[in-house]
Symmetry: C2
């Protein structure tokens, strides 16, 4: 079995990528890794991965290349740059971008890849650091069905809820729907917790009443308790959420869709970041509400 | 046992009250009922309840009086009006308002009741018509602990998640937290579903990807599928949600809290109602988004 396995190149070994790549090694895949800051690949190298000095070097010796980097500009450079994947991956390679990035960029990569006989998928994830560590991510995929099926065994090592959502870009569009839903809900959760506090209630007890019914949500159950405990450690960074909301807003505008909730949330988070909270968890949004008078 | 039971007066036998009162009859309580439109009490009368011609008549012959009426103005009239409960209930009676109403009014009723040796609780509910029918409502209670404990056996016939949240008004404040949470989340759910539709995705499949993670919520799981099916039947009426949001906004202002998400949601729902949708279910909000260009 193991000898038949494809060699996987993994680009981007941050909090998410590091855990995701480790599952591939544990499953017996030969793994090449490259990331901007080599020290962040240390743990994977200790687990048996092979370091490559550049995207180009990695591309030359991998059958499947998975990327999970920071911003759409990083995706653009890694894929479309002079030294990037489209210029250096071997024909017949699979290119899977798991970064949360622009749907339009995912389509562009897919089309340019196709010309070079490369098989591209966009496959952003949700589930956070814990989902990455436990291999329980939701993976939202855009691309061709055959390519999706070829990659499914690899996806299954990293996630649980794995869905082909449609043609190239559909994974990113689905992730945008996910982030758009969260954006407005975070406002409601912050307003509700602050309201409970200002009304003199015990906010934890209020959660006992409201999390089980029509107000219930993942954010209310998981982030409101952190807000109440003044715990602003990042599960999901404010700066990354801002990035995602900007992509979502741009994409919504391209689709001719008005999104006042998303716009409000983005403006509040930008204010929060400007006040020095960009490296806090998204639950820090409550700070803006608690200080209003 | 049954002969020791208190006689309950029930005022307001709409969709919620009708089901809630029926549980009390089934448990063997003697029930007096009054409601503005007598025909709406028909089913309860057939089940053995006794009709009373006015609040005053009902008050004279009941030990515990439960009200679940429409607007705060109705609560005010039923409790504080010339012919109302505070003027006509027998000393030692229990008065439980389960209407979603103003926290400040609940406090006023409590204080005025106390002077007349009447025991008042505010106890709004969530869980909708289904929760009322199945006896699985969340009941959020404000008032004195001893009074709450006396009434607990009655609450347990109507609900499951029953919490004393604090002194008078705390039940209403908790319900406001509940509605504030829902208000912003509904915007996010509508924007996300419309985004998915405009992006050419299959919105039901998108829900398969996003309901299980950080975007997950009761509204996303229960109302988004109705939006996708163009089903705008009321679970919870637009007009009632507007009422609740107006109370919440007024109450938030009294507390010195800025609630931009709540304000946005209220303005959108008012627009929706103005366009003839006030008797639709709250999921009809998506209509505003689908027609934007």
């Amino acid at each position: 079995m193991s000898t038949q396995k494809k060699t996987i190149g993994f680009i981007g070994t941050g909090v998410m990528g590091g855990s995701m790549a480790a599952h591939l090694i544990q499953a017996g895949y030969q793994l090449n890794v490259f990331t901007r800051t080599k020290s962040r690949a240390k743990s994977l190298l200790q687990q048996g991965a092979t370091w490559k000095d550049s995207v180009k070097e990695l591309a030359k010796e991998s059958d499947v290349i998975i990327t999970i980097v920071g911003y759409p500009s990083d995706v653009e450079e890694v894929y479309l740059g002079e030294e990037g994947l489209l210029n250096h991956a071997r024909p017949g390679s699979y290119l899977i971008d798991m970064t949360t990035s622009k749907p339009s960029l995912a389509k562009e990569i897919f089309e340019k890849a196709k010309i070079k006989d490369l098989f591209a998928l966009d496959a952003p994830v949700s589930g956070g650091d814990l989902g990455a560590r436990n291999g329980t991510l939701a993976i939202m995929v855009g691309g061709e069905e055959k390519v999706f099926e070829d990659m499914l065994p690899i996806f299954e090592l990293m996630g649980e809820n794995i869905q082909l959502q449609g043609p190239a870009g559909s994974g990113q569009h689905t992730k945008m729907s996910n982030q758009i839903t969260i954006a407005s809900n975070m406002i409601g959760v912050c307003e509700a917790v602050t309201y409970a506090q200002k009304a003199g209630l015990n906010p934890s007890k209020v959660l006992d009443s409201i999390t089980t019914g029509a107000a219930g949500s993942w954010s209310l159950s998981n982030l409101a308790p952190r807000m109440i405990a003044d715990n602003y450690d990042p599960g999901f960074y404010v700066k990354h959420f801002i990035k995602d909301m900007k992509i979502a807003l741009e994409s919504a505008k391209e689709l001719g869709l008005s999104t006042p909730g998303l716009e409000l949330s983005l403006s509040l988070y930008e204010k929060l970041a400007a006040e020095g909270n960009e490296n806090s968890g998204t639950q820090a949004l409550i700070k803006l509400f608690q200080k209003t008078k």
